[in-house]
Amino acid sequence: MGQGHALPFAGHGPAPQEGYNQKRMFQISSSSPVYDVVIIGSGAGGGTVTKVLADLGVSMALLEAGPPLDPAKDFKEHMWPYQVSHRGIGKGGQGYFGPTPWDFGYFTASFGGWKLAGEPYTVNPGDKFSWFRSRVVGGRTNHYGRISLRFADYDFAPYTRDGLGTDWPITYDELAPYYDKAERFIGVTGSKEGIRSAPDGIFQPCPPPRVPEMLFQRAAKKLNIPCIPARLAVITQPTNGRPPCHYCGQCGRGCIASSNYSSSQVQVFPAMKTGRVKLFTNAMARELITDSSGKVSAVSYIDKATRTEKQIRCRSVVVACGACESARLLLNSKSPAHPNGLANGSGHVGRNLTDSVGYGLDAHIPALDGLPRHNSDGMGGMHLYVPWWLWDSKNKEFPRGYHIEIGGGFDMPGIGSFHGDCERHEGYGKDLKAAIRNEYGAWFGMAGRGEQIPNENTFCELDPDVVDQYGTPVLRFHFKWTDQELKQAGHMYDTFRSLLETMGGKVTTPRPNFMAGEGISDGGEIIHELGTVRMGSDPSKSVLNKYCQAHEVKNLFVADAAPFVSNPDKNPTLTIIALAWRTAEYLAEEMRKGNV
């Protein structure tokens, strides 16, 4: 089973028991047929490659580290809090005392969290990094925010523009046809605006703004800040047999009707109907095995149900485990020919890690007190957003930019919804109830999501001392913001405060000392971690070529956010899909030509 069992046991677990090595000796069986393609991971990247290849007539195996998914059974869409005995707070009210087992709440479709039992990761002392992993078919796409933003033309040439970071090996124009395909297929709301920082795409109509969003839009206009219809992967028209959104606001719980994008429902399940996809669930890839020619000949994985190690043979492999997990797999694929991990002659696997800069602020908006009641659920997320508006400004104190996400309306009450009211108003009885009723739906929040520039102190590597419960070495994260990001977060606070005050809001949060590291999100917290297996034209500074094919291993491709060269102020999922689509078409063509 490779080198895993030779390592000392995890610092996170109990001391090694007697017979420990014997217990962990996996039987390796590799009697499988040879698949043309093995795809590892069924999230946005793996799901896209699966669907595109299936439509092109390619047969494949798809490995997913988590269990299968049955949306009708597993999604908690339309459940009321009183339908579960603990109402969402966890057994014994555990959420009152600390974290629950559900980091995003009992009702979400996240199927994972910041910590997974038996699968630790470590963080360099003094650094802060959190890693959200969803182990299930569809991965994080079952619950994610559905925000679908194209990168701008200038985002592909950041170094040329301001001398920081690295340029991509592709241009906007090269990726644009795949943005078109992605948007047409998954369905994205929006409107043509002609804003350079937010390129227009193929859009379905966006529902109208909610009342608080209308007030926000007027405040933004007054401050010369653009505020446009949201671009969400939610369909508002029938699309490829999927019914349009029914506006219950519960995208995060998973949509049983599949009216939003999830790779599970929109790509993997339809692809399986072609009969060309063999899905392996609870199959945790451990190592890529290479043959004497240096190509990947098999994928070694842990079959979690039997705790045995198995191999599946392949002619090519697409790694789509999620950026950090993909880097981990390559780093763990060591052999005498690849002592630093597979495809890692450049030493860049695990490097160039970034997350989005995050900061949020909210306030009570008195104009909304006592707002006449109506159903404001809408799509599961904002109906308007603010694209970056200072992209051509020369007077900023920081490079790059951020977009603003907004939130307000009559949310379904849950445990904790009115703790703030109890704190502020105290008392009891009819007065407390009247205050709660008056301020319900009268709060407005905004969150900035900005660009982090890769820096040499932010990366992941294998922890030399720790393995997971399957004996596989785990990742150790290093994460540092620089002044560029800290100043950007400060700009967010100032902007949000003036927007909220223009709406008549009373901001009670004092300005954090951003330059001392206060206020800004922790690394990984925004769950836009990427860049760890980056593409580039120079093999000494990148791992993949412009088609996300490894420079050093011709039948190895990466299809998630690991290939990203920069992390612009746009949520990564739409670009993951577009890039994976392009990679899948290239792979199919190379297979047809006999090159792979």
């Binding site: 339309h78 339908q83 009210g93």
Partner: protein
Amino acid sequence: MSEVTRRDLLRRIALSITAGQLSLEAAQHVHGVAAQEKAAQGVYKPKGLNAHEYKTLEKLADYIVPVEGTTGGAVAAGAPEWIDLMASENPQLLAIYTGGIAWLDHAMQRRGAPNFVDATAAQQSAMLDLIAYRKNESAELGPGIKFFDWARKMVVDAYYTSAIGIKDIGYMGNTALSKFEVPQEAIDYALKRSPV
């Protein structure tokens, strides 16, 4: 609402979407079913608190979210049952309630009442008017203020996550719509009051 009923609701949503007709009274139906199920359960027997403690919790819940006109309060919404259930599963939470209620009874005795639940309404509200506010923080009242903070937030949580509380606050969603629209009345109301 049972799991079967929810599935039924979802199936009807799916069907109505397919049929292109999305008048869903299904969500309203949910409330009715929940009420029926509660009625069928009969009288609740405390699992964590003893009979006296439970009676005290009911009284506190009634003070925190009382009946208003025809709208049921926290007791009708099942807040005491829910708190008792949570406490029965968690010794730390149980201790907050048994300790808090004992403190309350003791504090009432020092003010000449037999305990909290058997005190006069005037005595009860006099005490609550002290422990419901942080400004009254003192060496004597500290534990009572902390306890009431727990009771208040949990009663409020239980109330507004019940069918009665959800209806009372006026949440009208968790249903299926064929079109998302914002009533003009709400827009006019907000714009008239807004500085922008």
